[in-house]
C-alpha cells in the first residue's frame, strides 16, 4: 500500500513538469514574485554591473561556476576525510 502510494506520488511529480512545461512556465521567483511586485510599486530591476546576457555566455558561466564549486567541494571533502583516515592509521601504529 505504502509502495503504491509512493509510486503514484513519484509518477505525479514526474508528470507534472511536462504539463507545466507545456504552458511555458518555470520562471524564477525573482520574476514571478520579486520583480513583479517591485514593478507594481514603481521599482524595476536594472542591468547588472557585469552583464552576462549575451548568447550562450550565461550557459558557459553557470557551467564553470558549477564545475569549480563542485571541484572545491570534492577537494575539501577529500581533505577532511583523508585527515581522519590518517589520524586513525597513526593511532593504530
Amino acid at each position: 500500500m505504502k509502495e503504491t502510494f509512493f509510486c503514484l506520488l513519484l509518477a505525479a511529480y514526474c508528470l507534472l513538469p511536462a504539463v507545466v512545461l507545456a504552458a511555458d512556465k518555470w520562471t524564477g521567483v525573482d520574476e514571478s514574485v520579486v520583480e513583479k511586485y517591485a514593478k507594481e510599486h514603481g521599482r524595476e530591476a536594472v542591468r547588472p554591473l557585469i552583464d552576462i546576457e549575451h548568447g550562450d555566455l550565461p550557459l558557459f558561466l553557470f557551467l564553470v561556476a558549477g564545475a569549480v564549486g563542485g571541484f572545491a567541494g570534492g577537494y575539501y571533502w577529500r581533505k577532511l576525510t583523508e585527515s581522519s583516515e590518517a589520524n586513525k592509521k597513526d593511532k593504530n601504529l
Partner: protein, 252 residues
C-alpha cells in the same frame, strides 16, 4: 576506487551545473536596482557587523583547529552551489533555490555562516547576474544573517530538548529556508512600499512565495539532515570539536 569516486563527483557537478544553466540567469535573490538607495544602504549597515564578526571568528577558530579551514571550504562550495541552483517546483510551475545557510550555521556557527553566504552572494552578483551589488547587503541579511541564525537556534533548541540529530537538522534547514524568504519578503516590502502600508504588501509577497518555498524548504531540510548524518558517519570527531554533538554520541 578513488578514480571512480572522482569521476562520479565530476559527473554530479556537471549535472548540477547543467541543471541550473539556462539562457536567462535565474536569480532568486533581490535583483540589482530593486531597492531604493536609502534602503540598500541600511541593509549594508545591518550586514556589515555580522560579516566583520564572521571574519574575526574565522581567523580565531582556524588558528585553533586545523580541520576547520577544509570544513569552511567544503561548506562555502556547498552554499555557493545550493544558493544559485534553480530547482523547478512542479506544483507551482516556478523555479527557486534552497539556501544552504542552515547547514553551514550548524556546522560552522552562525557568524562564519554569514561570511560564507556573503562571499557566495558576492561571486553570484558579480559573475552570474544572480542578485545584485546594490542589493548585496539586503541579500546578506536575508540569506546570511536570518537564515544562519534561525537555522542555528532551531538546531540548538531541538538538540537541547533531546530531539534526534537528523530531525533537528531537518527542522533547522526547513526553518532557515522559510525564514530567509520571509525576511526577503519583509526587506522587499519595506523597500518598495513607498507611502503604502507595509503589512498588506508583505503578506502578498509571502503568500506568493509559499507555493514554491514550501516544498523547497522540505528539500533544504533533507539536504541539511543528510549532510549532518554523513559527517556524523565519516567525521564524528569533527562534529564533537564543532560542538554539534557530544562525545558520548560520537561513539569514539
Amino acid at each position: 576506487m578513488r578514480t571512480v569516486r572522482s569521476a562520479l563527483i565530476f559527473l554530479i557537478c556537471s549535472l548540477i551545473a547543467l541543471m541550473f544553466s539556462s539562457s536567462d540567469a535565474l536569480a532568486m535573490h533581490i535583483s540589482e536596482g530593486i531597492l531604493p538607495f536609502n534602503w540598500a544602504a541600511l541593509w549594508f549597515a545591518v550586514a556589515a557587523p555580522f560579516v566583520a564578526f564572521g571574519l574575526y571568528s574565522l581567523t580565531k577558530r582556524s588558528a585553533m583547529e586545523l580541520s576547520f579551514k577544509p570544513l569552511v571550504g567544503l561548506l562555502a562550495a556547498a552554499v555557493f552551489i545550493i544558493s544559485c541552483m534553480p530547482i523547478p517546483v512542479p506544483t507551482a510551475g516556478t523555479c527557486s533555490h534552497p539556501c544552504g545557510t542552515g547547514m553551514s550555521a550548524i556546522l560552522l556557527g552562525p557568524s562564519i555562516s554569514v561570511l560564507v553566504a556573503a562571499v557566495a552572494l558576492l561571486i553570484q552578483a558579480l559573475f552570474l547576474a544572480h542578485g545584485g551589488l546594490s542589493t548585496w547587503g539586503a541579500n546578506i541579511v536575508s540569506m546570511g544573517v536570518i537564515g544562519s541564525f534561525v537555522g542555528y537556534f532551531t538546531f540548538r533548541v531541538l538538540r537541547s530538548a533531546r530531539i534526534n540529530m537528523s530531525v533537528s537538522g531537518f527542522m533547522a534547514g526547513l526553518f532557515a529556508d522559510w525564514a530567509t524568504y520571509a525576511a526577503t519578503a519583509a526587506i522587499l516590502a519595506s523597500g518598495i512600499k513607498g507611502d503604502a502600508p507595509f503589512m498588506p504588501i508583505f503578506w502578498k509577497i509571502v503568500i506568493s512565495f509559499i507555493p514554491t518555498q514550501l516544498p523547497l524548504g522540505i528539500l533544504e531540510g533533507a539536504i541539511t539532515a543528510g549532510m549532518i548524518a554523513l559527517l556524523q558517519k565519516r567525521r564524528p570527531d569533527l562534529l564533537v570539536k564543532m560542538q554539534v554533538i557530544r562525545q558520548e554520541e560520537a561513539g569514539i
